[in-house]
Symmetry: C2
Subunit: 321 residues, 2 copies
């Protein structure tokens, strides 16, 4: 019988630090050409306003291959269910035999997405970044800050969200959980004015962040656009950026921020650097303190394989964090 | 906690008759435009001679969506493990929430593939077919005959396989299990000379069945070619055929027998009929007893969703077969 693990034990078997370490190595492997990442499956069921996304990848040297199924069913909240769900199935990378089912309800996707933001910041944000600007007040608004705190001396969060009540709750929680000072801002421009690192985490379909609001020295990570039609950054942001990175260029061009930037011709494909290449030392990240940098993160299958295999190692040995 | 079901209970919860009924309805739904079938994921890991195939599909009215992961790792037999493995994850089609994991080790794939052969024969083989010719001596050599017996008055199997010992064992087993007379033949031409329905079930990469061996009135089902490079039927077979059907035209053109037939220009795309359209009554199947018909089956995600959901219904109610 293979191992079946529930969300509670999965949460106890990992942490932001653990996730950042696993995701950093996954990007490095990707940059070294040691990953195989097939195109994702997107199954949209319009009749029930639901969708499934399936991702998988092989990483040389990682003992498992994860197949991650994530679902989003947008009528669920009216039935008292969360809209998002999912699980990961792990297979032995040497034999293809099933090893485990991680019933994480999407937790590991949230965590590895936060960790990717931290890995991007390690290479693209100034060393002395203390203030994180957050657009949104959901899970990624939390995860990004938790993971950034592992790689930069974060002391302050300035946040804006469409929903004032959720924003207030977010600021209270993030202040307590991450031990940073947290402040709700009146608008996105105010957030941009105070942030060293800006993280956009919304499902917006119209650009929220204007190019003129970016300031020299700022790093921006956009994680909200994970399917066609979504957009958080005005395409002009990429014209202002000194460096634009993508977790996977091909994927970001089909449904990330870069898709809109290419359409608006504010960037050329050759101008986009893959994050793995930077982590592997094949391309340079930030080289000057006054540069503006942007990371477009859409989530790649090797992140799922990396986090799932790392968590599985702790689950079977009984280790935590 | 979601339901986790092992192979033994899965086997007890279904049967050839049960599978044929579910797969027939799935093809009918497909022919009526009631399925959504995204492209499959193929993840090949050359370094370990292994591959993963991931299929999924939505069928209007079926309560689950299955995500099926099948693996083939060809060094496994030298380690005492089967080369093939896999599982199916079931999700509620209305909420996207995980419902069950079917740890079937590929059994349901084998069964639904056999069932698709039976559905093809219902529409393409003569009513009075009594003799099945089988090329190969593996799992599909068994499943196809078991399922064909549900739809045609099968009395006799004539079989050929490259491996004489496995062929002898196959003939002994199939004779006992399906209660048909079974005979090992000296060559493929001999099988063709005796068969009303010919089923090819091998992983051959060079055509085994020559066009000249097909006889008027014969129906051929080819199930071995499930990835690029495989081929069982000489492309000329399609020139001789009066009717060529595919479980999914797009898929068969990329890696089925029809891929080779198109390359050899022995068929035109417009000449290929989708099996679902025939089952739904939108296209005609066999109309005369002297026609030669061919079904190219590569396996479609809606078959996985159909069989998994049907088996799950029996598993949760404790019904069998």
């Amino acid at each position: 019988m293979i191992g079946i693990f529930e969300e509670k034990s999965i949460r106890a078997a990992t942490s932001p630090a653990h996730a950042v370490a696993a995701i950093r190595e996954a990007f490095r492997a990707d940059g070294l050409g040691k990953t195989i990442v097939p195109p994702v499956i997107n199954l949209a069921v319009a009749a029930v306003d639901g969708e499934f996304h399936i991702k998988t990848a092989y990483i040389e040297g990682v003992p498992h291959v994860a197949v991650k199924v994530a679902s989003g069913f947008y009528h669920n909240p009216s039935r008292g269910l969360p809209s998002g769900s999912g699980l990961m199935a792990l297979f032995d990378a040497w034999t293809g035999q099933p090893s485990a089912i991680l019933l994480d309800n999407g937790y590991l996707t949230d965590l590895r997405t936060g960790a990717a933001g931290a890995v991007a910041a390690e290479h693209l944000a100034r060393e002395d970044c203390e203030t994180v600007g957050v657009i949104g007040s959901g899970v990624q608004a939390r995860m990004q800050v938790a993971c950034l705190s592992e790689v930069r001396p974060i002391r302050r969060v300035v946040a804006w969200s469409r929903n004032a009540e959720r924003l207030a709750r977010y600021c209270a929680e993030i202040g307590e959980q991450i031990a940073v000072e947290a402040r709700a801002m009146a608008g996105i421009e105010d957030v941009c004015g105070a942030a060293d690192i800006l993280v956009t985490t919304t499902p917006a379909q119209v650009a929220l962040v204007r190019a003129g609001w970016l300031r020299p020295g700022m790093h921006v990570t956009a994680v909200g656009s994970d399917s066609p039609g979504k957009q958080e950054l005005d395409a002009g942001c990429f014209r202002r950026a000194d460096l634009a990175a993508a977790d996977r260029v091909s994927q970001c061009l089909s449904f990330g921020e870069l898709c809109h930037a290419m359409a608006a011709a504010t960037i050329e494909r050759d101008g986009i650097v893959e994050l793995g290449a930077i982590v592997a030392g094949k391309r340079t990240g930030r080289t000057r303190t006054d540069q503006i940098t942007i990371a477009d993160l859409t989530g790649v299958g090797f992140q799922d394989t990396a986090i799932a295999s790392a968590v599985h190692a702790n689950l079977v040995t009984g280790s935590s964090r």
